[in-house]
Symmetry: C2
Subunit: 328 residues, 2 copies
């Protein structure tokens, strides 16, 4: 614990740090980051959707990841939670425990990345806190979004017979981590980029289409297991139907398990009643304000309570040693 | 980074940890802590007040502090931010980066303290995240409160001539820290308890009374400096008028500077226009749902932009080497 010797009229180090780096991110509700709290007027007739996620150096990102992607990744992970609920981003708060080694240049790049992303996704900083630590960098981000009353998509709501669908491609993030760790070749850098900068599926119009949804962050099979359990149903997934990028397929068939069980996808997994499936199958995409997102059916919900079964194209059951990420 | 080997139908360790310790704290908006985000319906006609604070082991609390007070302290620090704005608590989110040494018993006590406090202050857990770290325990808490439209009390709004008032007593927390560090005697344990369990002044009816307010967390003089600067005014504080507890006074006059510049007070510092001061002077308290809170005038706002001046009872200027806490 340190005290700073400073004349009473000076701005202490903590406040000048916040002003220097974060004031440019603050929206009107943040009151210039100078008050004890932000005052946020919720959009009329809407419910708020709120989530918080933390990231720790060496657990969720690598110490030599570019600082401009570290903040963006955390923001995008939280945006992915909003996307899964069908919510529109409104604002975010950030706390950071800062180790001695990170200098002003690092934070300038870190905040620059966040600024680009908050403009792109249409939200602004509401508040936060900075503190020192002798341990690794710890970032914690709380995100606020809004959704029309009663239109939030939940994890529960799927019925037997509903199809299981997923956005984008699965496995790129997990393979990108292996590439950055040097155990996998990634000539184009596509996989590493997918690990560092996931694409949250903000603006998917799931209301009226999906009966349940969640984001895939801890590995497809583990997260599908949550969906199965929350709905008291069995899920059968056909491995060959799980969409993989060209770069992921180029890694070879021995990486299938990593794709299905690795984390860091930040795609949306959702249940679709049969009545809506033909249209979706035909379109193959869902439109969002940020462009069209490919969608693929990968399985189906069935009666029972047997978790997730993975089969190959011939209907043979596949088994895997690893279930997915746990951050503990 | 570790992967857990687990059958696909098992709950991973992270989820059972959350269920075991945190499910009992979750309110209806938290959706059982099972969805990607909470869905919170803002009270009609009210604005939301939102703040986030982080606490790091060895910076904001001591490793041998009782676990039941550590969580409560963080919650209370955030509640103090709501109190300063005149807001009513609604809910909170918690992220924690958990070092290997903390076991289930530790978290049971930690959550037990939080449960008692959330019931007392009338709010419930909305969501959060847990992760592992090899560094110190890092806790980050986001709090949501509500206030009638336009009735949030800001740091700005004071005018020259307004009195500077403060709730409770100043310096107990800073002295309590010294007592726990063994550099000060605290025979009754009163000061240590004030350090570990600050009393947030929730329910102070400041609207219509105070022209500006903030909570005192980084030391009275530093925080008074913020109020002076935010209002473009000079503040003169009379040291002898700053209320100190019996236990603080018993430490002796040499601890005055620690009381005025040490942190961890979590009292409310507020500006009162002269027209309201006589009534307040006469009452000496403000009522809250949690009991009467003593209030004391300690200074006055004046024209100018000279920060904070501290004088003794004879009007002589006092000077201090240290301005207050910075957490960086």
């Amino acid at each position: 614990m340190k005290k700073k010797v400073a004349p009473l009229t000076d701005l202490p180090q903590e406040f000048s740090f916040i002003h220097r780096h974060f004031a440019g991110l603050a929206g009107p509700a943040a009151l210039g980051l100078k008050d004890d709290a932000a005052v946020f007027t919720p959009p009329a007739g809407k419910e708020l959707v709120i989530a918080a996620d933390a990231m720790v150096e060496n657990v969720h990102f690598l110490p030599d990841d570019p600082p401009e992607t570290i903040g963006r990744k955390l923001l995008r992970c939280n945006l992915s939670d909003l996307a899964a609920m069908g919510a529109t981003p409104e604002g975010w708060l950030l706390t950071l425990a800062r180790p001695p080694g990170l200098d002003d240049n690092w934070f300038e790049a870190f905040c620059g990345g966040l600024k680009a992303d908050q403009e792109y996704f249409g939200l602004s900083l509401l508040g936060g806190d900075t503190t020192s630590t002798r341990g690794p960098l710890v970032l914690s981000l709380t995100i606020l979004g809004s959704v029309m009353q009663g239109q939030a998509i939940r994890r529960s709501g799927a019925r037997a017979g509903d199809g299981l669908w997923v956005t984008g491609t699965i496995g790129d993030g997990a393979l990108g981590l292996r590439a950055l760790q040097g155990t996998l070749s990634d000539p184009s850098g596509y996989l590493a980029n997918r690990y560092r900068l996931p694409q949250p599926r903000i603006g998917l119009s799931l209301y009226g289409l999906a009966s349940a949804a969640m984001d895939v962050s801890d590995g497809l099979l583990q997260d599908a297991g949550h969906l199965a359990r929350e709905n008291g149903l069995t899920l059968t997934i056909t491995a060959s139907m799980v969409p993989r990028s060209k770069a992921a397929l180029a890694c070879g068939p021995e990486w299938l398990e990593t794709c299905l069980t690795g984390g860091d996808d930040y795609e949306i997994l959702f249940a679709v009643p049969p009545a809506h499936e033909e249209m979706l199958e035909h379109a193959g995409i869902l439109e969002t304000p940020h462009g069209a997102v490919p969608v693929s059916r990968i399985g189906r919900f069935e009666e029972g309570n047997a978790g997730v079964t993975v089969i190959d194209g011939q209907g043979e059951r596949l088994s895997f040693a690893k279930g997915g990420w746990s951050h503990l």
